[in-house]
């Protein structure tokens, strides 16, 4: 399977990224290499082998429903470039 420019453009759109022509060509090239690597793995005979999803099958310890002290709003907004009245302010979405 080969990756096409359109595939990369679609992924870029989903990730809200934009590439210029040269960047796009470079991305197509990189994706192609990654897919080629996966294709090599797929040549292995994996008949009867369950896919490995979790390294730890013990299950996770659960947290009791006790709230912790939240951050101060000013602290929460500290890394934001743009805020207003305690809100994060972002480019208009609708």
């Amino acid at each position: 399977m080969r990756i096409e420019k359109e595939d990369v453009e679609k992924l870029a759109h989903l990730a809200r990224l934009e590439f210029t022509g040269a960047e796009l060509d470079a991305m197509v090239n990189d994706f192609d290499k990654m897919l080629g690597f996966v294709q090599r793995i797929q040549t292995l005979d994996l008949e009867g082998i369950e896919p490995l999803v979790y390294l730890n099958e013990e299950g996770q310890p659960l947290r009791e429903d006790r709230p912790s002290e939240p951050m101060e709003p000013a602290e929460a907004l500290r890394n934001s470039e743009n805020s207003d009245g305690g809100y994060f302010r972002v480019p208009r979405v609708l």
């Binding site: 679609k10 989903l14 990730a15 809200r16 999803v53 979790y54 730890n56 099958e57 013990e58 299950g59 996770q60 310890p61 659960l62 947290r63 009791e64 429903d65 006790r66 709230p67 912790s68 939240p70 951050m71 101060e72 709003p73 929460a76 907004l77 743009n82 207003d84 009245g85 305690g86 809100y87 994060f88 302010r89 972002v90 480019p91 208009r92 979405v93 609708l94």
Partner: protein
Amino acid sequence: MSDSQDLSAFEPVIGLEVHIQLNTRSKAYSADPAGYGERPNSMVGPISLGHPGTLPVVNRAVVESAIRLGLACGCTLRERNEYARKNYFYADLPKGYQITQHTTPICTGGSIGLGAKHGGKRIALTRIHMEEDAGKSLHDLDPFHTLVDLNRAGVPLLEMVSEPEFTSGEEAYAYLTEVRRLVRYLDISDGNMEEGSLRCDVNISVRPKGQSAFGTKVEVKNLNSFRHVQKAIEYEFERQVTLIQSGGAVQQQTRTWDSVQGMTQVLRSKEEAHDYRYFPEPDLPPVYVGPGWIEQVRTQMPALPEARIERYTVDWGLSPYDASVLVEDKAMADYFEHLVALHNRPKACANVLNTQIRAYLNQNGVELSEYPVVPERLAALLECIESGSLSHSAAFQKILPLMESGQTAHPLSIAEAEGLLQDRDEDRLRPIVLEVLEAYPAKVEEYLGGKKGLLGLFMGEVMKRSGGKADPQLSSRLVQEALEAQRKS
């Protein structure tokens, strides 16, 4: 739109997706507090904010809420629960993905009953799974920007997906009513649709009656009341049928409900549909829900509305209407059962709750938890009526209001102080009865001649002359005895 004759050749196929916001104290995957109506961005921490390097941990209460709901709906519970990432970019989703369950929902199967009004029809459930909410975007506070509050980001949700088994907006309304009642009984959510604790998306298609293949499906979002869900379904059914009948075809779309104009409008088309690229959440190992845990939750389950209606009607002889009104609110049903345990006259108990107490709550705009008369004291009052010490009207029109206003003495003591005790002293009542009969000799003749209806007249006179205190049952017997004695003489 078209008239109903055109519509009758078609039927809608409707499924509902309901998001239930849980009432846990902390969030689904972090210990950040979960709360409603707080200052913006005051209920957050590094995990809610999606900061790099943070790790989620599952809140036990979320899994337990899912088990409760699953048991209540008769679902099959999954032992090994995996989590997945649902990827999309939006300003109020700081991580860029939602942690949800994809291929392994905790509950599968089960059903929700629509109640007696719909012939006991049940809607089958496809699944219930655990996930988290996004933050809130505000688009109307700033003309050029969107403002984001992440307090809600990470608040736990259960998503309940039904099979496409609804055939009308009314059925959808009944289903949502039952879901709300259920989550309140189970105490897993406040179930308030206006505040967003319950959110509903509708999937609807239409097909000619008798056709088994489904038509093209439209999803309707932004429905923030039960009434809107019902109206949106009715609107979409007509829109889709009219479209087909005029030679058009339904487009696969996501639409939004415009409650001001009373119509649905396109939100996005199939081409713009999301591509969520689900994959297993590497930060969360599976959560195991073993039989021991399920049994432990089962023993703590409250009696559910359907089971209570059954008991009230079959065992206690209430009408289906009285029973359904009582179970509408869990606090009311609990109060009722407490009262019946103290005063074993279910019908009398139901009447006082559905009439006098409901009137008090409505007039004062308070919840039952704020009602000032506890079941023990109300039972004592009902006992006084039952034994004949108090008349029905004195008890409810005079004594109960005094108890509601804070008088804590025994109802009998209050009645005595107010001079409202019923007179059941035969030696005092008999002379009054004779006095009345002497005053109306002509009427006595008529009565003895067969005009039994005159008994009421004599009774009224006895009540008047006793200052309203004569025990009606006793007086009635004394009047009849005196009349019969005259016949013999």
